[in-house]
């Protein structure tokens, strides 16, 4: 972000403490100023912060630097057009009283605030539906509070009826039950999931149906919630890497890269050129895998099973290549802070090129089946449309946002790892229907292959690790032969990488959209707090907007087209 942009933001908010962190602005406001600040950020045409990325709470109970209040809430908001990012931090004197909601400004605030309430117990005044989202509804306490013991598990098993929620949704949609009674029609309530072949995981999609048309829809998530953030607070920075594999397991290594990139950005580590290129190759290769999985599953939902094999055969072969490159097929945990676990083997370029050709063939075969297929067109074009404004309001990023016609891609707009020097296009849809979402993913596969080919051509030789032994393990020869190396090794293994205290947010264009990490560091080897901004959490938050008024079969293929990954959704 340019310095002028920072000045521009700061000048609009006299009397509010603004400071520059990394390449964005952090503002600290008082609770009474919050509503005013947020609505200015959203509504001022020069500011136009239309994309609420994330809301998270912070519990400063054990933080070494004394704070005014125990709790704080942080809003991460983006202006995608001018590439401006701002974080608004507000201390919360009384969590039970809380802070005013911002659901009227951004629809994505609905689920984001519910998550903060669930994890920290911070109230949001005026929130339409403040209840737990990730944890079970019978869960007692708020797990991300520092005084909640990590070993204190709870057994909850009663299912939640969601009766009130769907009734409210029916009311909001203006469904008139008395008229329906007059013509002897009754609403049928149907649970799609949590275990249903179309959910590709465990999500409960609760629908109110009139025949096969969806009148109202509410969703329950959290079936795969495993407390990633709480676990991360009790691991060293490098120990968190294997956990990030499990976020979006279809493109596991992108999460590794996004995570270490975020840590490195705060440590100020500039990784080596070769490492950058390796990361670009792997993240684009995993983007291809992610899209292959998504499209294949989506077309299976549509009944086109043959596409599944054309695409999955290539994904399967790609995993073999990935296991040769990284040592593991799915969850490779291949990155380290300051570099990569190891270099690629000799001659990997040839194998990669063979695999890329195979992928191109598989994708082209699948496209030949669907591109001009009338049934596919009838089913996907014009169904489950989402306009650009609604998509932005719900915090959509990535292919789903681009399908709605917003050409926002962090690789272009906020480039990292030399992405500015690669020649690639950002495919954009026009209407935001299912067809656009599928075709944007198909096109991105070809664009990613283009990037990989360029990166393979220009990848330099050299070390893959930086020479900073406060962050990177020294080579074994040094560990065994000199005391300094042994001390570095010992400290890094036992205490972890010492990260200077502070708070920062860093993001990465993952296969599903903007994958962000919000850190609070206290100077020790473990993150004081680590919040993931998972792209598909917010996409799922807008699911009901897409499917209401459509048919039950459309809801199923829509769920496939937005690529909901349970590991990332529920963390």
């Amino acid at each position: 972000m340019k310095a002028t942009a920072i000045e521009k933001i700061c000048s609009k908010f006299p009397g509010i403490a603004c400071r520059e962190v990394l390449n964005y602005v952090e503002m600290t406001v008082q609770p009474e100023q919050l509503e005013e600040t947020l609505s200015r950020l959203k509504l001022y045409p020069e500011l136009n912060f239309g994309l609420l990325l994330d809301i998270t709470g912070i519990d400063y109970l054990e933080y070494p630097v004394a704070q005014d209040c125990r709790f704080a809430v942080v809003y991460t908001i983006r202006n995608w057009r001018d590439n401006m990012l701002v974080q608004v931090k507000v201390p919360v004197p009384d969590p039970d009283k809380g802070v005013p909601t911002c659901t009227h400004l951004w629809s994505s605030a609905n689920w984001a605030e519910r998550e903060v309430y669930d994890q920290y117990g911070i109230n949001f005044i005026g929130h339409p539906d403040l209840r737990r989202i990730l944890n079970h509804w019978q869960f007692k306490g708020h797990p991300l509070r520092k005084d909640y013991d990590i070993f204190k598990g709870q057994v909850c098993y009663d299912s939640y009826s969601m009766e009130n929620e769907i009734k409210n949704r029916l009311l909001a949609n203006g469904v008139d039950e008395t008229t329906m009674k007059d013509i002897n029609t009754e609403i049928m309530f149907l649970n799609l999931g949590p275990s249903h072949p179309a959910t590709h995981g465990a999500i409960r999609i609760f629908t109110a149906l009139d025949g096969e048309s969806i009148l109202a829809n509410v969703n329950e998530i959290g079936y795969l919630h495993r407390g990633f953030e709480k676990t991360a607070e009790n691991r060293t920075y490098n120990q968190v890497i294997p956990l990030t594999d499990r976020l979006n397991y279809c493109s596991a290594m992108m999460n590794n890269i996004a995570y270490v990139k975020a840590v490195e950005s705060w440590l100020g580590i500039e990784i080596t050129e070769r490492c950058k290129f390796m990361r670009v190759v792997m993240s684009e290769f995993f983007r291809v895998q992610d899209h292959l999985v998504c499209i294949a599953a989506n077309l299976v939902d549509m009944g086109g099973l043959t596409n599944y094999w054309y695409l999955y055969n290539e994904k399967e072969a790609s995993y073999d290549l990935i296991s040769r490159l990284t040592g593991a097929r799915l969850t490779s945990s291949f990155t380290r802070i300051g570099g990569m676990y190891r270099d690629f083997y000799d001659g990997w370029e040839h194998d990669m090129e063979v695999q890329l050709k195979a992928i191109e063939k598989g994708v082209s075969d699948s496209l030949a089946l669907v591109l001009k297929n009338r049934i596919v067109h009838d089913r996907t074009q014009g169904t489950c449309k989402l306009s650009a404004e609604t998509a932005l309001s719900y915090g959509f990023t990535g292919p789903c946002l681009r399908a709605s016609g917003v050409p926002f891609d962090l690789r272009k707009d906020n480039p990292y790892y030399n992405y500015e020097s690669f020649d690639f296009n950002v495919p954009v849809g026009s209407t935001g229907d299912i067809y656009d979402r599928i075709m944007v993913r198909f096109e991105e596969i070809f664009e990613s292959i283009k990037i990989i080919r360029q990166a393979m051509k220009h990848i330099p030789d050299g070390p893959i690790f930086v020479k900073d032994h406060n962050a990177v393990l020294p080579p074994k020869s040094e560990v065994y032969n000199n005391i300094e190396g042994l001390a570095n090794h010992f400290k890094l293994i036992f205490e972890g990488v010492k990260v200077p205290s502070g708070e920062w947010y860093d993001s990465f264009e993952a296969a599903n959209g903007e994958l962000g990490f919000h850190f609070v560091a206290d100077g020790s080897g473990k993150p004081y707090k680590l919040k993931v901004r998972p792209p598909c959490f917010y996409i799922m938050g807008g699911f009901h907007e897409m499917v209401e008024g459509e048919m039950i079969a459309d809801a199923v293929i829509n769920l496939g087209s937005i690529n909901i990954i349970g590991g990332e959704l529920d963390r």
């Binding site: 096969e212 048919m551 039950i552 079969a553 199923v556």
Partner: protein
Amino acid sequence: MSLTLLNVIFAVVVAIAFAALNAAYLVWAERRGAGRIQRRPGPNINGPFGLFQPPLDGLKLMAKQLTIPGGADKILFVAAPVLSMFPAIMSFVTIPFSEMIVAHNMNVGLLMIFAFASSGSMALLFAGWSSRNKYAMMSAVRSVSQAVAYEIPMLITAITIVLMTGTMDLMEIVRQQGPSILHWNIFPLLTNSHNLLMPFSFLIFFTCTLAETNRAPFDLGEAESELVAGFHIEYGSMGFGLFFMAEYANIVIGSCLTTILFLGGWHPPLPFLGFIPGVVWFLLKIYILIATFIWIRWTFPRTTIYGLLNLSWKILIPISLFNLLLTAGLLKVF
């Protein structure tokens, strides 16, 4: 009298055997064909080319317990799979495989087959209704509306044939289509009607057969991605097995009927090929049609219920009605 009874019993036994064998080995053919299309082997472990797979699957299904969900209508639940298999087998009785091979020819054979085919959708309705499952019920509703929508163009097309041939006797319909491909009802250039739209009628009839047998792209009854398995969601064991077999038996019936009505039955395409027995031609034709069924299934995605109904009511029915009028007019003129 007793001879006729024996004859009928023998015919039914042969029909059951034929239907069951066909159903079993069509599953194998379908899986191998799907494997071919999808670049994977398909069943190839048990026996040569995996040919022992179907009997082993059957054995496994028979060995399983038939569970009846709580709250289900027990009588209907048990009766439904039997009812679905029954019309499929009964229809075989009147199918002429050649001039000589027919179990029991009757002068209303076409009517009988349509009567039995219609009762097949009752079985799906019973199954869906009695399972006490929302998915099964939605599937049953879908299946019935689909059956109603597609029986109409199918019947109209069949009536066109009846007009052209002047009979409902299946053997007579075939006899009139000899001796060469130009006498078949699909290209009736040398017969009395000269209707150039008959290839469209054939396509309509074939499409309706796809829909009537609940095959992809019209497999909305058992749409596994949204309705999980549709009307047989609660069935295990041989209850499921019977539904499965009935589906394939229905495919065979549909192919037989298409062959008889449009493709000249047991007649060879050219008269000099007459030295090959008629039954070979008949079986060849139906298996080519069945292969097309399989090919279509693994090529096209599923339609939606509205797309399906629109296709029938807005496109197929008007075209087939027009064709019926045209045929009637042409018959009057020539």
